[in-house]
Each structure stands twice: as structure tokens, then as C-alpha cells.
């Protein structure tokens, strides 16, 4: 005897995925806002704690990318204490991080690439067809994802103590040298990871190039936002996931800014809007222009596609050949949000190739893995930045002379993308509401508009059921609620 209860996700995740649509006197869309939940109070929680706790604390902010927070935090501490980690520590951190990018990107591609998920049931037919084809093409290859990810995760655990919430990065280095067995294992494993990433890309590309309708589907206006792109590059302008400078290009591809992470506040500004807890970021050079597209907008996007756009080349040869194929097909810079799947796979290949290079570096197993920082001479600040799977992540700390935090600011990928998401949502709403009449397809189209951004709710929402439900509220010009649309919880679909 089982008592069946239905857990209504709307109440479980209060405020998650709320869209407010405001109509004007004529019943047309005045504006629309997507509200993504924000975990409140984290910065306040950090103030008064020793700065060196941050790599552990911040790894617990998010149930999705703790590795990115762990590494961004330790880079901020390196900067705060003004300490340069020895080569072996830099290599071990980088190897761990490349493995993380590799396995995270591939997990999402193989498990989430389904037609209904990314395109939605309301997507244009060509999009659904092409993704359906991909699912079939990849069936055999998909079986290898299990072993490839498992091998990568076991190696991550050997490097970092734990796979998920790593416990190895410390200001000035890491806590434990990489032993000879782990070095050997990394060298033996890496070529297979490169092969798997290449095979995945080849199967994807074949499916795309065999189906011209893919580009037709990509052109869907709901998925296109013409704004600036930001991503990290190395000294040669090649795509970097950690230890680089940030580069911004405009919608036509012209460089607008290039800066070191510590100077981020000279180029980016945060703005508070009354309808969301998330702070929206924009480019200082353009100013706050509201939710607009085009060459003059202050908005920029981050994430896989933005990173490929801003990089002059990939950092590794095989990935670079794939990047060129992508832009031959889509044009450069690419603004088709749906191309992020493809971009992700190109990045996964670079991560695998880089992991192979790092594993082969003779300094990886060197026992000297930490420069213990000297006490702070006085109050100081430190900034760390990495490219998390979904985009640029900044950690900015200020501490007093005792190393106690006086301020902490984390800027996550979803914040950079928060304003462009609003543009997409607004476009979808304007297209579907006329004279106060709400089209039945509204919910799906709105979802379609922000699905591809993969917005993060900035916390470990491992919730049961954990889905991000969507509630759409339509308000008239008088502010009164005209309509509330929510996704219905389906009955048993056995």
C-alpha cells in the first residue's frame, strides 16, 4: 500500500522560473521579465570568515559546478595573498579543471541533447527532426560516455581528493603532490578521452551537415540575440578556461575590450532591478541601454558560443579544425543560441587535448606543490576568474590584515546572461500576445527562448522534484492580474 502524493514543484521551489508580462492600454506587451531565483545572503555569510575557507565554502554554493567555484576561489586567494603557485600545482589544478570541463560538457550533450528538452515540443519541426537523428546516430557512441566519464572522474578524485567537492586547492598551490601512479594513469587515459571527444563531434557534425534543415532551424528568431560576446583567452588570444584575460567583441566581431580579471570593474558594471534579486551586468563602455540588441547595446553573452566567438583560435590543433568548421557553417560571430551544443563539443575536445598535454608535462609529479603565503601586509583585495561550463565566473574578495573577509562578490555565468535572456523572453512574448489575447503556445515559446541559456539558480537545488517550473503572470495596464499560466503537473504517464 503506497500513499501517492504529488509534490507540486511550484510550491517546492517558490519563485522559480517566474515570468511577469505587463500589457499596455491596447493589450500588447509593454514588457516581460523572467525572474530566476537567487540564493540570498551568501556574501553576508562569508564576511567575518577566514579567506582561506572560501574554496570549500563556495564549492557548496552550487550543486552543479563546485569545481569551477573551487578553482575560481583559490585563484582569488592567490591574488589576495600575492603568491604564485609552483609549476606542479598550476599543472595539477589545470588538469583537474580540464577533466571537469570535458566530463561536464559531454554529460550534457549525451543526456540532455534530446529533442524535447532543448527544442521543446513547440520547436520548429526541422529542429525536432535533427535532434531525433542525433539521438539515433549517437546510440553506439553513447555507451562509451559512461566509461569515458567514469575514467575522467576517477582521475579527478585522485588529483583532488574528491571528484565533486574538491579539497586540494590552497592559496599558493595544492595540498598534495600528484604521485607517480596518478601521473601514469593520466598519461594512459588522455588519448582515449581525445578520441571520444573527436568521435562525438564527428557524429554530431555528420548529422548536421547531412541535414540542411538544421541551419534553417538554427535561424529561429526566438533563439537569436545580437549582442556582444565575452570569454577568456590566453596570451596568444586562444580560448582558455583558466589563467587568462577576458576579451569582449561586438556583434560584428570587433574587439571592444580586453582586460585582466582584476580589472573587471573597469569594464563591467552590475545593476539592480526591482523585479529580481539577480544583479544584471552590462558593459561600461556602452552604458546601460536596457534590454536591447544590436551594435549599441550594453548587453553581452557568455558561455560556449561566446567563448568560441571571442577566441582567435582554439588552444589545441584538433579543436581548432573543428572551430573553423563550425564558423564555416554558421558564420562568425555566431548569434544562434542553439549552436551552443556544437560549441560545447568543440570545447570538450580542447579540454581533452589540453589534458593530454598537461599529463605529459614532466613537472606534473614534482613534489614542490605549494608556496605558503606570507601574512598580509594590510587590507587587500583579490580577484579570480575561470570559464565555468556556462560562462565566466568571477570571485572578488576583500580581506583585512588578519586575512578575515570584509567583502565577497561572486559573479556567476547566469548573471552575465541575465539581461540577454530578458531580450529573448520579451521577443517571444511580444510575438504571441496581441490585443490582450494570449496564444496557447505562449508557455512553450517562452521556455524555448531561455532554455538554451541553461540558467542557473545559483544554489544546490538538488530538489525533489527539482525541475524549474514556469509560472507566467500576465498583468494589464492597471497592474491587475489578467491571467496566470503554469505548467500542469502531468497525471501518471505509465
Amino acid at each position: 500500500m503506497t500513499r501517492r502524493i504529488t509534490i507540486d514543484p511550484i510550491t517546492r521551489l517558490e519563485g522559480h522560473g517566474k515570468i511577469e508580462i505587463l500589457l499596455d492600454d491596447r493589450g500588447d506587451v509593454e514588457s516581460a521579465f523572467l525572474q530566476v531565483p537567487e540564493l540570498r545572503g551568501f556574501e553576508r555569510f562569508c564576511v567575518g570568515r577566514p579567506a582561506e575557507e572560501m574554496p570549500q565554502l563556495t564549492a557548496h554554493v552550487c550543486g552543479v559546478c563546485p569545481a569551477a567555484h573551487h578553482i575560481a576561489a583559490v585563484q582569488a586567494l592567490d591574488a589576495l595573498y600575492g603568491v604564485a603557485p609552483p609549476a606542479a600545482a598550476r599543472l595539477a589544478r589545470a588538469l583537474y579543471y580540464q577533466l571537469f570541463i570535458f566530463e561536464d560538457h559531454l554529460l550534457h550533450y549525451w543526456y540532455m541533447g534530446g529533442p524535447d528538452f532543448y527544442a521543446g515540443s513547440d520547436a520548429p519541426a526541422p529542429m525536432r527532426n535533427i535532434l531525433g537523428v542525433l539521438a539515433k546516430v549517437g546510440a553506439d557512441l553513447g555507451k562509451r560516455i559512461l566509461s569515458a566519464r567514469r575514467e575522467a572522474r576517477e582521475l579527478m578524485a585522485a588529483l583532488a581528493g574528491r571528484t565533486v567537492h574538491p579539497v586540494f586547492a590552497l592559496p599558493g598551490g595544492i595540498s598534495k603532490a600528484v604521485d607517480a601512479a596518478t601521473v601514469e594513469r593520466a598519461r594512459a587515459l588522455a588519448p582515449g578521452l581525445v578520441r571520444f571527444a573527436e568521435d562525438t563531434l564527428a557524429s554530431f557534425r555528420a548529422a548536421v551537415l547531412d541535414h540542411p534543415e538544421y541551419s534553417e532551424a538554427l535561424a529561429s528568431e526566438a533563439y537569436r540575440v545580437r549582442c556582444h560576446s565575452m570569454g577568456m583567452v590566453d596570451g596568444g588570444g586562444r580560448l582558455a578556461f583558466l589563467d587568462g584575460r577576458l576579451r569582449v567583441i561586438d556583434p560584428a566581431g570587433r574587439e571592444l575590450a580586453a582586460f585582466a580579471p582584476r580589472d573587471w570593474l573597469d569594464h563591467l558594471a552590475e545593476r539592480v532591478e526591482p523585479w529580481t534579486y539577480a544583479k544584471l551586468t552590462y558593459l561600461k563602455a556602452k552604458g546601460w541601454t536596457g534590454f536591447t540588441e544590436g551594435d549599441d547595446t550594453g548587453l553581452y553573452r557568455v558561455g560556449p558560443l561566446a567563448r568560441l566567438n571571442v577566441a582567435r583560435a582554439m588552444a589545441t590543433p584538433r579543436a581548432e579544425a573543428e572551430r573553423q568548421r563550425l564558423f564555416e557553417a554558421l558564420g562568425w560571430p555566431a548569434h544562434q543560441t542553439l549552436a551552443f551544443h556544437w560549441a560545447r563539443l568543440v570545447e570538450a575536445l580542447q579540454a581533452a587535448e589540453t589534458a593530454q598535454q598537461l599529463a605529459g608535462d614532466p613537472r606534473l609529479g614534482d613534489p614542490h606543490v605549494r608556496e605558503v603565503p606570507a601574512p598580509l601586509p594590510g587590507p587587500r583585495e583579490g580577484v579570480g576568474a575561470v570559464e565555468a561550463p556556462r560562462g565566466t565566473l568571477f570571485h572578488h574578495y576583500a580581506a583585512d590584515a588578519d586575512g578575515i573577509l570584509t567583502a565577497a562578490n561572486l559573479v556567476v555565468a547566469s548573471q552575465h546572461n541575465a539581461a540577454p535572456v530578458q531580450v529573448s523572453v520579451r521577443k517571444a512574448a511580444k510575438g504571441l500576445i496581441r490585443g490582450g489575447k494570449v496564444d496557447a503556445a505562449l508557455l512553450n515559446r517562452l521556455e524555448m527562448a531561455f532554455r538554451a541559456y541553461d540558467p542557473c539558480n545559483a544554489c544546490a537545488s538538488h530538489a525533489l522534484p527539482g525541475e524549474l517550473p514556469l509560472v507566467v503572470t500576465v498583468r494589464g495596464a492597471d497592474g491587475a492580474v489578467r491571467e496566470v499560466i503554469r505548467r500542469r503537473v502531468p497525471e501518471d504517464a505509465d
Partner: protein, 156 residues
């Protein structure tokens, strides 16, 4: 038949969300034969990694349904949870994660039983359980042990 896994989910920095971690500590203090206890603060698809290699799993977690007072213990099979497919892979729930992995040909547990405790505060950063939730910890522990024994004894 391998051991049964009790997977306790929670984030130690999100107030009541840590309730299952307190339960894990008590479960580990008095081990059940044939039962392994693990904790995780991860979400959705990533939970599959924590379950890899187990055929029967008890998941202990905090929920806020609003339909019951804080401290209420719910015990139900995963299949009893109805979740709409969310718009973001970032917030994919366990039912969808299991379904997607199965569709992709990945081995997933054949039986997943949930023990969920109704909580009060989830979206504030901080440590410490609210009183009603703290008081429910022994009851959640008992429910988790009972669920694991039932799965261990169930015919495969």
C-alpha cells in the same frame, strides 16, 4: 544483489537543506548490515554518478511542499513524484535524470525509494536547522533504515 545505498542529499550551508546530512551522520554511527551510506550536495543528472553500481537506492532529502507542517516525513517510491520537464538542464529533477539516463542506455537503479522531510527554510545561506526539522531527525533516520531493509528484503 549488492548492498543497498542510502544517499543523503543536502547542502550544509542552506539551513534546513542540511537535514539529510544530520541523518547520514546518525546512520553511519550505527551501520546497517548490507547498507552503504553516502552524502551528496549535487543536483539532477549528477546524482546518477553517486548511485552508479547500485541497484537499490534510498534517497533522503529535504522538501518544501507547503502541504504539510515542517518535520513531516514523507516516504514514497520515486515513481510517485510527478515533475514537469523543466526548462533548464541545470534544474533537472531526479525523476527526469533517471529517465534520461535510462533512455541513453546508462545503467540506473531499478528501485529508488524516497524519504523526504518537510522543511521550512531552504533559500537562505546559513547553518542550523529550524526546531521542528531538527526534532524530526530521529524519525527520518528510522524511516530511512526501514526503507533500506525493505529494499534489501525485496525480491529482485
Amino acid at each position: 544483489m549488492g548492498p543497498v545505498l542510502i544517499l543523503c542529499l543536502g547542502n550544509p550551508l542552506r539551513r534546513d537543506d542540511a537535514v539529510a546530512l544530520h541523518v547520514a551522520a546518525r546512520l553511519s554511527a550505527r551501520p546497517e548490515p548490507g547498507v552503504e551510506v553516502r552524502t551528496s550536495a549535487r543536483a539532477g543528472l549528477y546524482l546518477l554518478d553517486d548511485m552508479e553500481g547500485f541497484d537499490r537506492v534510498v534517497v533522503v532529502d529535504a522538501v518544501r511542499t507547503g502541504a504539510a507542517p515542517p518535520g513531516t516525513v514523507h516516504a514514497l517510491p520515486l515513481e510517485a513524484i510527478h515533475a514537469p520537464e523543466g526548462p533548464s538542464p541545470h534544474a533537472i529533477g531526479l525523476p527526469s535524470a533517471v529517465a534520461r539516463a535510462r533512455a541513453a542506455g546508462a545503467p540506473v537503479p531499478s528501485r529508488i525509494q524516497l524519504v523526504a522531510v518537510e522543511v521550512e527554510i531552504l533559500d537562505e545561506v546559513g547553518e542550523g536547522l529550524t526546531p521542528a526539522v531538527a526534532a524530526a531527525v530521529p524519525a527520518v533516520e528510522s524511516a530511512a533504515r526501514a526503507a533500506a531493509r525493505a529494499l534489501a528484503g525485496a525480491a529482485g
